[in-house]
Homo-oligomer: 156 residues x 2
DNA sequence: ATCAGTCACTTTCATTATGCAAGTAACTAA
DNA sequence: TTAGTTACTTGCATAATGAAAGTGACTGAT
């Protein structure tokens, strides 16, 4: 009666959720990517109980999203900084933010992504990097299995 | 000792997670957006216990992401189809898929988003719709508070 | 008419996870 | 000496998750 693990599923979405799918994890990551590094700052910013924060930070460190660094020896003090993997998570939070603003902010968004040069509010959409084509286009489909005739490793 | 609710937080990410942040919810949504509509098909595809599926479907319907429709009167049979809000969730799953492929698919991706016209594998990135600029650019920042001069409910 | 089969669930109950309150440890500064 | 800061851990109650089994409303074949 353990919680079902998504880690062994072939789907990359399931594997992602194995790392960040627990209650609080994404919000901790959100703050970490905003610049929060200290235990007490996470705690104050999130209103999370210290035991929960401790557990989640451990899990995020174990999953390779955060790195625990000692920034003081006497007294021993630690900080949590996003790894490259953790920083790569930003797009997920950006689309989640856009979705929340569109559907769950009846009085208009209270949080926005802004171009600090022009002051304009950005509207995040997902496109294909090469072609620039929006992935909302129905020509884009999710397919299962590797590209035919291409042995796994050195391939695209 | 209830689970902390994110629904009353101002952050749109938190509000989003209130709806889809539970174990299984996003995977159910993933299948629903792939075309799965029937209870037993969700169950078989996910390997989820029927009681959990029942709870999650109820929650997703209550959150406005799925619509429960009777497709047969005798016997009474139901199907679950994504609402507009549910369909708008696709970009989140696309970025989550891309992140999973980048970091948790050591032998290369087993699931890809493909342009069915060219057969090319898409590489999802998030850009600003108007300017086309990648939101990974550091000029984009998350800011709190509404745009100046637009009072909606008195809060600044 | 009986029986197997399908579909969409619900009920029961054990195991996990979550969360509040409180406590601990190692310091620094007054 | 006392208070304050930082970074946690422990204890324990409540809530969520999950496997197994059961229910209800049918259809279709013998």
């Amino acid at each position: 009666m353990q919680r079902t693990s998504f880690g062994s599923m072939a789907c990359p979405i399931a594997r992602s959720l194995e790392r960040v799918g627990e209650w609080w994890s994404m919000l901790i990551l959100r703050d970490a990517l905003r610049g929060t590094t200290r235990f007490d700052d996470f705690q104050a910013g999130l209103g999370i109980a210290p035991n929960m924060l401790s557990r989640r930070l451990k899990a995020l460190v174990a999953a390779g999203l955060l790195e625990k660094r000692r920034y003081s020896d006497r007294p021993p003090r630690y900080e949590y900084v996003p790894t490259e993997c953790g920083r790569d998570f930003r797009p997920v939070l950006q689309t989640l933010l856009a979705w929340g603003n569109r559907h769950f902010a009846p009085d208009g968004p209270r949080v926005r992504i802004v171009d600090t040069e022009t002051g304009e509010t950005a509207e995040p959409i997902v496109v294909d990097r090469r072609t620039g084509r929006p992935l909302s286009d129905p020509v884009f489909r999710t397919v299962y299995g590797r590209p035919a005739g291409q042995p796994q490793d050195g391939t695209a």
